[in-house]
Amino acid sequence: MKAPPLCPNIAANVHAHRAKKEYLEPLGLPAERPADWRAKALDKFRELLHERRSLSLYMDVCVRCGACADKCPFFLGTGDPNNMPVARAELFRKVYRRYFTAAGKLAGRLATAEDLTDDVLDQWFTYFYQCSECRRCAVFCPFGVDTAEITMAAREIMASIGVAPKYTTEVIRKANEIGNNLGIPLAAWKDSAEFLEQELKEQTGKDIKMPVDQEGAEVLLVPPSADMFANADTMMGYAKLFYAVGVNWTTSTYASEAGNFGLFLNYEQLQKINRRIVDAARNLRVKRLIIGECGHAWRAAQAFTDTLNGPLHFLQKPCPEHICEFAARLIRGGWLKLDKSANDGVTVTYHDPCNLARGGGLIDEPREILRAVVNDFREMPADTIREKTFCCGGGGGLLTEELMQTRMNGAKPRVEAFRTTGADLLATPCAICKAQFPEVFKHYGVDARVVGVMDLLAKAIVI
C-alpha cells in the first residue's frame, strides 16, 4: 500500500477509555494517578531498563533511518506521523534521553530530550494504544528494533501509575477471577459444550464429545474463550478433529482462555494468566497441551510458558503444540480422510495473524491444512503475507468499541490486500482477527466472511 501524505495529529483524539478504580485495584495497580506520579513512572522506567535488554538497547541504537515509517498499518491507515514506528518510539525516547542519558541531561532540546509532563503522558496513552504490538516494523529494521517491546514498556510504566485502559484491565480481571476473557462462568461453559455436542450430533449423526474438566484426558485443549461462544464452528472443528483420530481430550473451566491480555499490559499479568494454563494441565493430569486458534495466545504460550511457569517436564513435547501444527501433522501422516469438495463454491485466502507469523513461527502449517481441504485457495500479495503480514487492526488490546476508528484505519492495508484476491472467505486462526474482520468488511463494504482454519478442515473431514 502506498504511504499516505503526513497528516499531523489526525489520530490524536482517538483514545481508549481509562480504567477506573474497580478495574485497577484488582490488578494491584494504583486506583488513581499518585501525586508523585512522575517520580514513580521514572523509577519504573529505570527498573525496566535494567531488566530488559531489548529496551535498553532499542532506546540507544535507533538511527531514525525511517525504514519502518511506511510499514505500520496504523500509519498507512491514518497518515498521522506519530504512528510511524520510529516516531511512536521517539515519544518514549525523548523522555529516556532527558532522564537517562548524558546528552539529554546536558543538551536538553538540542538532543531532542523532553520532560515527562502531563502532555507527554497523554501522548503516550494515545499513541501506545494505537499500536497493536504487531511487530511488522521490526521485520524491516536493520537492528530488529521491536516497537512492541517499547509499546509494552510504555504501557507497563503507565499502568504502574494507574494509567491503563478500561478494556484491557477489565478483560484481565475477568481472566483472573473467572478464567476467561469473556467472563463466562463455569456453568455456562459446560452448557455451551453440551449445546455444541447436540449441534454436532445433528450435523454428523455421530456422538462427538466436547469434554470439560475431564481428568486424565490425553490432551488439554486451551482455546480462546470466544471459540466456545462466538466461533462455534471452530470449536466444533476441534471436537471433530479429535474425534476423527480418536484422541481423548478435554477443555478446562479453570483455564478456559488461551488469550493472554497480560501481553498488552505488563509482565506480571502475563505470567499470572499463563500460569492458569500450566496449573490446569497439571491438575487435570493431561499428557499434552494444545493451544487453539488465537494469535497472541500462541506467542504467549509457545515462547513464554516454559520460561515463566516451567519447567514443563510433566508434558510431552512439543509443548505447547498449536492446533494447526497438530492437524498438519495428522494430514501429513495420512491420519485424516478428507473431502476437499466439501469446501467448493468458495474462494479462500489466508490471513497470517501477526503473533503466529512474527511471534510464533507458525506460517506454513495453516497453509498446508488449507491446501489439503480447499480447492480454490489463493494468497494475498507477497509483501502482505507470512512475516510481512498486516495486522487486522484489532490486536494488541485495541479490540474495543471506542477505538473503532483506530481499528478501521489499521485494517486498511489488510483490506486492500484482501481485495486483490477476489476471495469471498478469509480464513484465519485468531479469535481477535475473527472478531475484527466482520466490522472491517462492513466498514469497507467488502462482501466476504471470516472463518477459522479448523472450520474448513472440519467440513472436509470424512467420518
Binding site: 504511504a3 538511527v63 511506511d70 536493520p142 537492528f143 513435547k317 510464533g360
Partner: protein, 254 residues
C-alpha cells in the same frame, strides 16, 4: 612541538573506548528475560550466525524494506569501512599491507591513490545522498533531529578534509606515517605541518567523542545484541531460563 593534536587524539580515543565499553556493558547487564525472537527464525547457533552476518554485512532487513534507501545506506557504510581499512594499511602499517598484498612500495602507493579516491568519493556522495534524503523526503524530514544532521555534517567535514589532502596534495605521507607510528608508541613525533591535517584530526576526535553519546553508538553492536535477531527460536525444545530471575519484574509476581 605542538602537543595539542596528539593529546586531543589520545583523549578522544580514550573517551571512545571507555564510552563504548560503558554502553555495551549497560546493554548486556540487562537480561533478555523472554524469548522475543522475530520469526521465522533459526533454531541453531550457526543459523543465528548466518542471520546476524546477513544483517551486519548486507543490511538484509533494510533491503527487504526499502531497496532505494538501502543503496546509499549500504554503500555509505561500505565506503567508511574501506576508508578505515585504507587508513590502517596506508598510515598505520604500510609495510604489513604491502607484504600482505604482495606489492612493492610504488605499486602500493598507486593502489592507495586509486582505492582511497574511489572510497572517498563514494563516501562523500552517499553522505550527501543521505543528507538530501533527510531534507527532501516528507517522512525522513519529519523524523530528523538536529543530531541526525550534526552526525552527517560532521562526517562530511571529515571526508572533505581527508579528500582535500588526497586530491589537493599538501600532505607529506611519510611525515604522517611517522606521526601515527610515534603516537601509537607514545613516543610523540611532530605532526605534519599541514593545517588541513590538523583539522582532519580534530574533527575525527570530535566524532570519536560524540559516538558513544549519540545514535552513532549503534556501531557497538545494535544488530549483534538485538534479542529479536540473536536469539534462537527454540523456546519449546530447550527451557529458556537464567540467572536474571531475582532481578526481573516477572519473578516478582511469583
Amino acid at each position: 612541538m605542538n602537543l595539542a593534536l596528539p593529546v586531543l587524539l589520545y583523549a578522544a580515543v580514550a573517551v571512545f573506548l571507555l564510552g563504548m565499553g560503558w554502553r555495551i556493558s549497560w546493554w548486556l547487564r540487562a537480561p533478555a528475560p523472554l524469548k522475543i525472537v522475530l520469526t521465522p527464525a533459526p533454531k541453531t547457533f550457526s543459523g543465528v550466525a548466518v542471520r546476524l552476518a546477513g544483517e551486519i554485512f548486507t543490511f538484509r532487513s533494510l533491503f527487504k524494506g526499502d531497496r532505494y534507501f538501502w543503496i546509499p545506506a549500504w554503500l555509505f557504510h561500505l565506503s567508511l569501512a574501506l576508508l578505515l581499512i585504507g587508513h590502517l594499511g596506508g598510515l598505520v602499517m604500510p609495510k604489513v599491507a604491502e607484504a600482505t598484498l604482495g606489492l612493492d612500495e610504488s605499486q602500493f602507493e598507486h593502489l592507495a591513490q586509486v582505492a582511497g579516491s574511489v572510497a572517498g568519493i563514494l563516501a562523500i556522495s552517499t553522505v550527501l545522498w543521505l543528507l538530501i534524503r533527510r531534507q527532501v523526503g516528507e517522512r525522513p524530514r519529519s523524523i530528523s533531529h538536529f543530531s541526525d544532521f550534526f552526525a552527517l555534517i560532521l562526517l562530511l567535514l571529515i571526508l572533505g578534509t581527508g579528500s582535500h589532502m588526497r586530491f589537493m596534495g599538501g600532505l607529506d605521507i611519510m611525515q604522517a606515517r611517522q606521526f601515527v607510528a610515534g603516537w601509537l608508541m607514545f613516543h610523540l613525533v611532530p605532526p605534519p605541518s599541514n593545517p588541513v591535517f590538523a583539522a582532519h584530526v580534530i574533527l575525527v576526535s570530535v566524532l570519536l567523542i560524540y559516538i558513544p553519546f549519540s545514535k552513532l553508538v549503534h556501531i557497538g553492536g545494535a544488530a549483534l545484541f538485538s534479542p529479536t535477531l540473536n536469539q534462537r527460536n527454540n523456546p519449546r525444545e530447550r527451557r529458556y531460563a537464567g540467572p536474571w530471575g531475582a532481578a526481573a519484574s516477572i519473578s516478582k509476581s511469583k
